[in-house]
């Protein structure tokens, strides 16, 4: 779910207002938000604690680490997973226990989480230990397409997408390759 911070008006996930270099996890009235205050953007994740949301965000970035993608794209990618957890206690439990396991396996210091472990190798080693498990499969399967199927992500990878409305690629470079 998404809402704008200023108005407090809740809208369903829609068009991203903008990408954020860093976003914050905050609890507003007890509801976890992934927020980019500077750009007036937030994803509401009431089923997760702020720490859980931060771990999921870092975990999905570690699965699909693209320097060119700012945090908001990853936040959008985990939003459908959140929606599922909100409806299904078993999913919520699977995610909670998986997150706790990641914290342990990444040797997060007391009071800190997987998301605070700055050594990427330690986080990757933790993922390797849960690969093949139900938590990994759930998060992987639920976030991959929502990450790469965002229209605003496409141009960052050089994918121009739909072409019919523009007359196809017939006059837009379908045969412009000249380096061979």
């Amino acid at each position: 779910m998404k809402r704008t911070l200023e108005s407090g008006q809740v809208t369903r996930r829609g068009f991203l207002v903008g990408g954020a270099a860093t976003i914050v996890t905050v609890a507003v009235s007890g509801v976890t938000l992934l927020a980019d205050p500077a750009r007036n953007w937030a994803v509401e994740l009431p089923s997760f604690t702020p720490d859980q949301a931060r771990v999921l965000l870092q975990f999905v970035r570690d699965l699909f680490p693209h320097a060119r993608l700012v945090e908001t794209f990853y936040a959008e990618a985990i939003a459908p997973l959140h929606d599922e957890a909100a409806k299904d206690p078993a999913t919520r439990e699977l995610l909670a226990s998986g997150i706790a396991q990641l914290n342990t396996l990444a040797h997060a210091p007391a009071g800190k989480s997987y998301a605070d472990v700055t050594d990427e190798k330690a986080r990757v080693a933790a993922i390797r230990q849960i690969e093949g498990g139900a938590f990994f499969a759930k998060v992987y399967g639920a976030t991959l397409t929502p990450l790469y199927n965002q229209r605003k992500v496409w141009p960052l990878f050089g994918y121009e997408g739909p072409s019919s409305a523009l007359g196809g690629y017939l006059h837009r470079g379908f045969n412009d390759l000249d380096w061979l």
Binding site: F64, Y148, Y159, G161, P162, F174
Partner: protein, 523 residues
């Protein structure tokens, strides 16, 4: 104007499925003045609903009812819930097919004679050969508007094709070209020409690609002799005491059961659903499934030996721009056992949009190596190895012992184990594909294991002798003379070519036979 037939009208030909086989048969029979009712499990989607959107169109077109997979084939692990990718809508897989329209080669109609006995394979020659098929291939190509035939110019070469051809040339190949495509290169037959949208598989928004959805089905209806019933899933075929089929029981869009009487029934639900329906129509007269005295219904399941190779280059390719599968290398399609396998394979372009590429480039993959490939998406190129796979009796469609669909019909289980010949061919294809791209400077190449099967064949195969197969050379059941199979499940072998053109050619031939037999009062 579409016809409207009564459920008790026993003069109609009931066709189950509306894709390459069913849609073509409906049109051909209706043109000849024969009344047809088409039962299509999926919805009727109009061309205006097509979007250039891989994820949305997958959801709109795909047959997503549950199926299970067993066996050692990699798909059972990488895609256990969707082992095959077939369509569920009017037009069937002709809506999402890539439109490569290739004839089978002469030797591919005679695999048992030409390849000899292969241990673990159920090889059999077709009861028809290329010479007999040529006039029907010719008509099919004309009807579908296949480029490179009937004076229709080829499509132009895309960026993606340029890369494929440069690598093929460097590797010493000579048989590379823009494929014969059932996609208009010029306006023809009331349809527009290709605008290089790059979304062939998501439904051609310009209608340049041949599909029964907007070619054969409306023309069948225009004769006044055809009725299309979408969202009607056939559950069971009934017969009388003499063993002739008499009616099809189906669930309509409300889920209510209906019974359509029939003079003739033609099954064209693809190589998964067609045997499923015959197996589900068992009776005291046909205890092992309708028309299954040979025991071959559901067996010899083939899906082509496939695999993909993607390569990343230093400079942009933009593989998603343009006609998706328009380039082909045919040098490996020959029969040459010195390579360590019988049969041959094609190398065809396989572009993907970013969402599909991300889903399939490394199934289950994650981390920096995978991300690096995706970071170079714009510089990626890919080819698909598609070759002849071995028919095996143990590769088969069976009814699931417990699981049922929402109408109470047992769901199909698809069992497949690679034959050693398949493995040798796939590995050869991977090596050649990698060499092709490396010869022109690929920075990295990636082997992709087979996708959910789109070419499904063999599970009601045609044979000269009734003991060897389910149907004769016209797709007529050996056991039941007014029952026909009109899809790729008739194929005794898979060849190394995309199956649609051969399905259409067989259907044209079958339609002539049915009309003739009806006129003679034989059926």
């Amino acid at each position: 104007m579409p016809a409207k037939f009564d459920h008790n009208d026993s003069s109609v030909v009931v066709i189950i499925g509306s894709g390459a086989g069913g849609g073509t048969l409906a049109h051909e029979l209706a043109r000849k003045g024969i009344s047809v009712v088409v039962l299509e499990a999926g919805k009727r989607v109009e061309m205006t609903e097509f979007q250039n959107d891989e994820v949305a169109m997958f959801a709109l077109f795909t047959w997503q009812d549950p199926r299970t997979a067993t066996g050692s084939w990699s798909v059972a692990k990488t895609s256990p819930d969707l082992p095959v990718w077939t369509c569920k809508l009017v037009g069937g897989t002709t809506v999402h097919w890539g439109a490569c329209a290739l004839r089978f080669q002469d030797h591919e109609f005679k695999p048992r004679t030409r390849y000899g006995a292969i241990a673990g394979a159920n090889l059999m020659d077709w009861p028809v050969d290329l010479k007999e098929m040529e006039p029907y291939y010719d008509r099919a190509e004309d009807m579908m508007g296949v480029t490179g035939t009937h004076g229709i110019p080829p499509l132009p070469v895309s960026n993606h094709g340029k890369v494929l051809f440069a690598g093929a040339k460097k590797l010493g190949y000579t048989k590379y070209q823009v494929t014969n495509m059932a996609i208009n290169s010029l306006p023809r037959d009331g349809r527009a020409s290709c605008q290089q949208t790059g979304f062939c598989v998501q439904g051609c928004t310009f209608g340049a690609k041949w599909s029964t959805l907007y070619v054969d089905i409306p023309r069948a209806e225009a004769t006044g002799k055809a009725e299309i019933r979408p969202e009607c899933q056939a559950l069971r075929i009934e017969h009388d005491a003499s063993g002739k089929v008499t009616a099809v029981v189906y669930a309509d869009r409300t889920g209510a059961l209906q019974r359509q009487k029939a003079r003739i029934v033609a099954v064209a639900g693809n190589a998964i659903e067609s045997p499923r329906l015959l197996l589900n129509s068992s009776s005291s007269l046909f205890p092992h499934g309708l028309a299954n005295s040979s025991g071959q219904v559901g067996r010899n399941y083939m899906r082509h030996t496939t695999g993909a190779v993607f390569a990343v280059f230093e400079k942009p390719v933009h593989m998603y721009r343009g006609t998706a599968q328009s380039g082909i290398v045919m040098d490996e399609a020959r029969l040459d056992t010195r390579r360590g396998f019988v049969g041959g394979y094609q190398m065809e372009l396989l572009p993907q949009g970013l969402p599909s590429f991300a889903q399939t480039i490394i199934p289950g993959g994650w981390g920096r190596d995978r991300a690096w490939i995706l970071d170079h998406y714009a510089n990626a190129a890919g080819l698909w190895v598609i070759g002849e796979d071995m028919p095996r009796e143990t590769n088969r469609i069976t009814l699931h012992p417990e699981k049922k669909d929402r109408f109470g019909m047992p769901i199909p289980n698809i069992h497949s184990d690679d034959h050693p010949n398949d493995v040798a061919m796939r590995n050869h294809g991977y090596q050649q594909g990698e060499s092709l791209y490396k010869s022109i400077g690929a920075l990295k190449t990636v082997r992709v294991s087979p996708y959910p099967s789109t070419h499904n064949m063999g599970t009601n195969r045609m044979s000269e002798k009734p003991r060897d197969g389910v149907v004769n050379q016209f797709g007529q059941a050996h056991d039941v003379k007014n029952l026909f199979v009109s899809d790729g499940s008739q194929f005794p072998s898979s060849g190394g070519e995309n199956p649609t053109l051969t399905i259409v050619a067989l259907t044209l031939r079958q339609a002539e036979y049915i009309a003739d037999q009806m006129a003679r009062g034989e059926i």
